[in-house]
């Protein structure tokens, strides 16, 4: 399955690095990535492929939550189909 991961929080060095390291450890392939800063707020949007995921999905969610708390950003992961359903007729 493919999913959209978003990371939102106060801008600081190392956010993309921290998130991509975790994804690499879990064998999650990044297909597309974009990042912007708006009014000091960091927003990263990533499209990933979870086909090779080497842990159960709930575990990945927990690890993303924990990472988010550690570096003080909010990380969400939603199935690609959520976006397709909502935005494509």
């Amino acid at each position: 399955m493919r999913a959209v991961i978003t990371v939102v929080g106060q801008d600081k060095p190392g956010i993309i690095a921290a998130v991509s390291v975790l994804l690499a450890e879990r064998s999650v392939n990044i297909l597309d990535i974009s990042q912007t800063i708006m009014q000091g707020f960091f927003t990263m949007i990533t499209l990933v492929d979870l086909a090779g995921l080497n842990a159960p999905l709930p575990d990945l969610r927990t690890e993303l939550d924990q990472l988010g708390k550690r570096i003080d950003v909010e990380i969400t992961l939603q199935h690609e189909d959520v976006y397709t359903s909502m935005h494509r007729v």
């Binding site: 399955m1 999913a3 959209v4 978003t6 939102v8 597309d32 974009s34 912007t36 927003t43 949007i45 499209l47 999905l57 709930p58 969610r61 909010e74 969400t76 992961l77 939603q78 199935h79 189909d81 959520v82 976006y83 359903s85 909502m86 935005h87």
Partner: protein
């Protein structure tokens, strides 16, 4: 990126800030094949069928929630109206209470928060089994916490069964008395309908109709917060009402698409047919999850102000138009919910006196559930409750739509006093009731005939 940044941010905000969720995945289960003349075997078969059919319901729903990243709040079960099943074992009220206890055990075992279908369909007449069930409702609800009861007492095809109206008004008073320590809370699990839908996923009025498959799964969405935010973005600007309707329609489309996505997955994983998506905007007592606040965003000072019925008509219509394009199987109630205690904006308007029982009744000509979660003074008589109920049924019958009442005559409560029902049931001020009597009318009994517009054959 295959999605634009705007699209991704919009979706993210809906879930993170605007309380978007799937309110319920409800499994409908047919119990007709559990009928048995032996009460013990009847109860065993009911328990067994429910537990077998819904064994994977909660786990599967949670799995889908984790996979999609979409909160799925409640998992529920609706069953065939128990009066249709229980009659085979004789028609005694204590027999029906025992079935309520069996349903409670099955609900606990499967892990669902509510199980609906302790119900009777009595819009044209009552069978001995129907009477037994209705008499058992107060005890059946007081003895359980997850069982939900309902009755259909009127339909556009057959009119209003005023004998049943009176029976149900008595059941409401008695259910309140049996749970006086908690403000008459048992009444929050008792809905009296006109034109009850057979595929409704929302509690407390859900039951599994006789035209449904053996087992089926339905989804009810939420999303008042999302619609409110979308309208708020237009507030203060020059947007005319048709532009607001267009925004509501687009928003409802997006919300309902998520419902359809979850329904498809749930049906596939559970190996049962996909039923319907109920596109109702279901509010909760949480701030930012209120239907009343949507009306206020449109420009009304407060819900209940003149213009409220018109604003609700705009909202309800636009929600349906957006939702119908988003799902191929729209069903259930699919309108606007206007519960008083479950919607903080409605409760606040009731406290101010902006929203009276009479104005609310007018608004229910547009919405889908009628007088919902309305707290009444404890000294409201059975006849007055029957009168309020009959009025609400008349609105449904004459307009060919579902209406209902979920009234709570709070034991010892007086108008203006706040009552807490807890959790999703929320809190509300007791609304004043007209002091004038209806007894002479409702005590006549009989049937109020169906409207001429029903005779279409």
């Amino acid at each position: 990126m295959i999605f634009t940044r705007l699209e991704i941010e919009q979706t993210l905000r809906m879930f993170r800030e605007q309380n978007l969720d799937i309110r319920t995945i409800t499994m409908g289960i047919n119990l007709l094949d559990c009928a048995d003349s032996d009460p013990m075997r009847l109860n065993e078969r009911i328990y067994e069928k429910i537990v077998r059919s819904a064994a994977g319901l909660v786990e599967t729903a949670d799995e889908i929630g984790v996979e999609l990243g979409v909160p799925i709040i409640n998992k529920r079960i609706s069953v065939t109206p128990v009066a249709l099943v229980g009659g085979a074992a004789g028609a005694a009220a204590d027999g029906a209470v025992r079935i309520a206890q069996t349903l409670e055990r099955a609900a606990t075992e499967t892990g669902v928060d509510f199980l609906g279908g302790f119900s009777a369909l009595v819009h044209k007449g009552v069978t001995p089994a129907d009477i037994a069930l209705i008499r058992a409702i107060p005890e059946g609800l007081a003895e359980t916490t997850r069982v939900c009861a309902s009755a259909n007492v009127a339909s556009s095809k057959s009119g209003i069964n005023m004998d049943a109206v009176l029976l149900l008004a008595e059941a409401i008073k008695s259910a309140a008395a049996r749970t006086s320590a908690t403000g008459g809370s048992a009444c929050s699990r008792l809905v009296v309908f006109a034109n009850a839908p057979e595929d409704n996923p929302f509690m407390a009025g859900a039951f599994h109709g006789t035209g449904e498959p053996d087992v089926v799964v339905h989804v009810g969405v939420s999303g008042p917060g999302v619609v409110q935010s979308a309208v708020a973005e237009m507030a203060g600007g020059p947007a005319p009402l048709d532009a607001i309707a267009e925004t509501v329609k687009r928003t409802a489309f997006r919300i309902t698409r998520i419902g359809q996505l979850v329904l498809d997955r749930a049906a596939e994983r559970l190996g049962v047919p996909a039923g319907i998506v109920d596109l109702s905007l279901a509010p909760t007592p949480a701030v930012g999850d209120s239907v009343a606040r949507i009306l206020e965003e449109m420009g009304l000072e407060i819900a209940g102000a003149p213009g409220s019925t018109a604003a609700l008509a705009l909202l309800n219509n636009a929600v349906k138009k957006g939702g119908m394009m988003a799902s191929s199987h729209v069903g259930g109630l699919s309108g606007s919910f206007l519960p008083v205690s479950e919607d903080e904006g409605m409760a606040a308007a009731a406290e101010k006196g902006a929203l009276t029982l009479e104005k609310l009744e007018a608004m229910t000509a547009i919405c889908s559930v009628g007088l919902d979660m309305v707290a009444l003074p404890g000294d409201t008589t059975v006849e007055t409750i029957a009168g309020i109920m009959a009025d609400e049924m008349a609105i449904g019958v004459m307009n060919h739509k579902t209406t209902a009442v979920r009234l709570i005559p709070v034991p010892g409560g007086t108008a203006g006093q706040w009552v807490e029902f807890g959790g999703l049931l929320g809190r509300a001020p007791i609304m004043p009731v007209s002091p004038y009597a209806s007894a002479g009318f409702v005590r006549r009994g009989g049937i109020i005939p169906a409207p001429v517009t029903s005779y279409r054959n």
